[in-house]
């Protein structure tokens, strides 16, 4: 899997590259700002771009804007945004227009190779990934009535795990359920959220988006 890394902190960029190379990823390029990232993605056509949200020139949400731009120009290339912000709004902004092949993780996940590598692979497969901390915050929140109220507690747990980017098998393991039970929960969720018409892997993404929106 080919990855480009964009982060203005050289030490972190290089460390991350070494870590990913060790884990079997091919690092196709490294850069330090949004413009260089867009050029590099254009030239090297990686599978996924790993992008820090805060980058020159504005040190605001330049990375997020660049990630959205990549999704728009190259629908086949995935993006994983690393962010300081725990707020779901930033994740929403990334996922709302094109929820496939996109992920949003907190910056400190860079040292947690298992989470990072899993997220990159799932994005490569066309799914979307949201940091578990953000998901659990959304779940904990008191909210007014919404589409998620129709879900049972178990179904909601499953949806949370889908949102975090877990596969059916991983969900089964986490909740001590058989793969068949997991599948039946998921089809219930799709039905209750009115997602029956869409193609299979797309439905997972849409379910996550519904989860994000209604939270």
């Amino acid at each position: 899997m080919r990855v480009v890394i964009a982060d203005d902190e050289v030490l972190l960029r290089d460390g991350l590259a070494r870590l990913l190379q060790d884990a079997g990823f091919e690092v196709a390029g490294r850069c330090g700002d949004a413009d260089a990232l867009l050029r590099m993605v254009n030239a090297r056509q990686p599978d996924v771009a790993l992008v820090d949200i805060r980058m020159p020139p504005h040190h605001g949400d330049d990375g997020l804007v660049a990630a959205q731009e990549i999704r728009r120009r190259h629908p086949e290339i995935g993006v994983l945004v690393l962010s300081h912000h725990l707020e779901s709004r930033y994740a929403m902004r990334l996922l709302e227009k094109a929820p496939e092949r996109a992920g949003y993780l907190l910056k400190e996940r860079v040292s947690d190779l298992a989470v990072l590598a899993d997220a990159l692979r799932r994005i490569g497969e066309g799914e979307c990934v949201i940091d578990p901390t953000i998901v659990s915050r959304l779940v904990a929140r008191k909210r007014e009535r919404g589409p998620l109220d129709q879900l049972t507690d178990r179904e909601r747990e499953v949806l949370e795990l889908i949102a975090e980017g877990h596969s059916n098998r991983a969900i089964g393991q986490a909740l001590f359920l058989s793969p068949k039970t997991v599948e039946s929960h998921i089809s219930q969720i799709f039905m209750k959220l009115d997602l029956r018409e869409s193609p299979a892997h797309h439905r997972r993404v849409l379910a996550v988006l519904t989860f994000l929106r209604s939270a």
Partner: protein
């Protein structure tokens, strides 16, 4: 001011001058009575005792009016020409065969009263004459005293004109030629011309002046202009003939002149009454203002009293350096043009100023009268205005302090994210890389590094919370509504029930946000429900806490107060109203 005081004094009739004026008029009246009774056929009053009484009364009224009207009274015709016009009015009868020794004086002075009256009218309110008025009066006096007076007398031989009973003309040089007739025609034509010019000049002045001013001068000025105009008509009527006479037209016009002169006197007297009324109303003001008037109450009363609805009252706290209005807002005195300022001085310092239409308060006595009568009210208003100005300054400085604090919070938030947090993340990554290399050889050290890595991650999370608490980026990026949503995500017991759409000014957004954040901080547990809505140019924020609110809300009061808003709090509820413009 000294030059102006001296100038004023010139136009006030001193007691001796008053006595002189009265004595002179009595003498003129007695002589006139004798002349008219002696030769009624040559007189304008004729055989009518009523006409004669009216004639003498009109002059007397003018003299009295000139004496009672102080020169300082606004709207008054200037005193000495007015008194002189009153004294000169009966002299029109003196160029009569019955005039005896006064005959020569009559020949010179019979047509001088309109000049004096015009003079008084043009000097209304001690107004400086100006070039056109000076030229006009020069022509008028030259015509009356020169052409129709001395020059005509020099060539008027009564005997040659067939007046055998006429007394001797002591100015006669030669009456042989037809010069007298020609001079009379020229003089009367000139009279018509200057009267027309006078009427136009006064009309132009009246048109240019403010409505308040017009109301003030009209009662005396209009009849004065009418009297002079009637004289002009009589002159026009007499041009062909070459002299003023007493045919039926002359007499009708003369009756009109007499009535107009009486009205001038009445107008002056009315002005006097009005001024007195104003002063006593001013005195009553003190009583009216006793019961704590609303800001600007005095201004309204003074505006009504002086008849200028545009009148405004300003105050100064630093002897006229800076001015504020009744609400305490900075204001400026007019620099000229159609508005004027009358400054009110107390204890040697400029304390207040009346800004009004030009020339409304030309009478310094009236301004002082206002200052005296309304002193308590003025002082009360001035202190109120000062209090409001201080409040506004305080609010502005509060707003600056809050804005500075917010800017500092944002800078800290930035620094934490870009500096410390970034370094900690890099450090955690380095620890991870070191662990990978150590894994096989040094399991103990590898485990230590694992703990360090966990600690670093926890530190990053704590720093993030700290930074967010300082100033949430989303508040600046996306506004109050989204920031509230984010806060609810972070603190599940916050329930945003109603959130307004759109953006507000940054200080309003941060004040609203911190009211909510503080409510969360100050309650130990339980839901905190928030309703925020836009209402009549205000952002109304209602926070209902299930738990009890602990501690004081000083910082929130500062924030809300800095915006001119209101904060009401009890043990479970907070309600903030923030002006937001729309």
């Amino acid at each position: 001011m000294t030059w102006r005081k001296r100038w004023l004094r010139l136009h006030v009739l001193s007691p001796i001058r008053r006595l002189l004026a009265v004595g002179l008029y009595v003498a003129v009246a007695v002589v006139t009575l004798a002349i008219v009774r002696g030769e009624p056929g040559y007189a304008l009053a004729g055989h009518s005792a009523v006409a004669l009484a009216g004639e003498l009364a009109a002059g007397a009224l003018l003299v009295v009016a000139a004496l009672v009207a102080g020169a300082r009274q606004p709207g008054a015709l200037v005193a000495w020409p007015l008194a002189a016009a009153g004294i000169a009015w009966p002299l029109a009868e003196w160029n009569s065969p019955g005039a005896g020794a006064a005959f020569t004086a009559g020949l010179v002075l019979y047509a001088v009263w309109p000049c004096l009256l015009a003079h008084a009218a043009l000097r209304t309110d001690q107004r400086p004459l100006g070039q056109p008025a000076i030229a006009l009066l020069a022509v008028a006096y030259a015509t009356s005293l020169g052409v129709l007076g001395v020059a005509s007398a020099a060539v008027f031989d009564p005997i040659a004109r067939g007046c055998f009973e006429c007394p001797a003309n002591r100015l006669l040089i030669s009456g042989a030629t037809d010069a007298w007739h020609k001079l009379g025609q020229v003089g009367l034509a000139l009279s018509v011309a200057w009267v027309a010019f006078f009427v136009a000049l006064v009309a132009a002045r009246v048109v240019r002046s403010s409505p308040a001013r017009r109301r003030l001068v009209a009662p005396a000025l209009i009849p004065a202009v009418a009297a002079v105009a009637l004289f002009g008509v009589d002159a026009a009527h007499s041009v062909e003939r070459g002299f003023l006479s007493n045919d039926s037209t002359d007499r009708a016009l003369w009756v009109g002149e007499m009535a107009a002169l009486s009205l001038v006197a009445a107008g002056v007297a009315w002005e006097r009454v009005r001024a007195r009324r104003t002063r006593s109303a001013l005195a009553r003001l003190v009583v009216d203002l006793g019961a704590s008037p609303p800001p600007g109450g005095l201004q309204e009363q003074l505006a009504a009293l002086l008849g200028d609805p545009t009148l405004t009252l300003l105050h100064s706290l630093d002897d006229g350096e800076h001015w504020i209005d009744a609400e305490g807002r900075p204001a400026a005195l007019p620099a000229g043009g159609s508005r004027e300022a009358t400054r009110i001085v107390a204890g040697g310092r400029q304390v207040s100023a009346l800004v009004h239409g030009a020339r409304l308060l030309d009478d310094p006595a009236l301004a002082q009268e206002i200052a005296r009568a309304a002193r308590l009210g003025l002082e009360h208003e001035r202190l109120n205005a000062a209090r409001r100005a201080h409040l506004a300054q305080l609010r502005a400085s509060r707003a600056r302090i809050v804005a500075t604090a917010d800017a500092e919070r944002r800078r800290l938030e930035h620094d934490l994210h870009d500096g410390a947090q970034q370094r900690l993340v890099t450090l955690a990554l380095s620890a991870r890389l070191a662990r990978r290399q150590l894994a096989a050889d040094e399991p103990a050290l590898e485990a230590e590094l694992g703990i360090a890595e966990e600690e670093l991650r926890a530190a990053v999370a704590e720093l993030r919370e700290l930074a967010h608490g300082l100033f949430p980026t989303v508040l600046a990026d996306e506004g109050f509504g989204p920031a509230l949503e984010v806060l609810a995500e972070q603190t599940p017991r916050l329930v945003p029930r109603t959130v307004p759409e759109g953006r507000f000014a940054a200080p309003v957004e941060s004040a609203a946000y911190f009211v909510v954040a503080e409510s969360l901080r100050r309650t130990a547990g339980g839901d905190v429900a928030v309703d925020a809505r836009r209402l009549d140019g205000r952002l109304v924020l209602e926070v209902a806490c299930a738990g009890e609110l602990a501690g004081a809300a000083t910082e929130l009061e500062d924030r809300v107060g800095a915006l001119g808003g209101e904060l009401v709090a009890d043990s479970h509820n907070l309600r903030a109203e923030l002006p937001c413009g729309s």
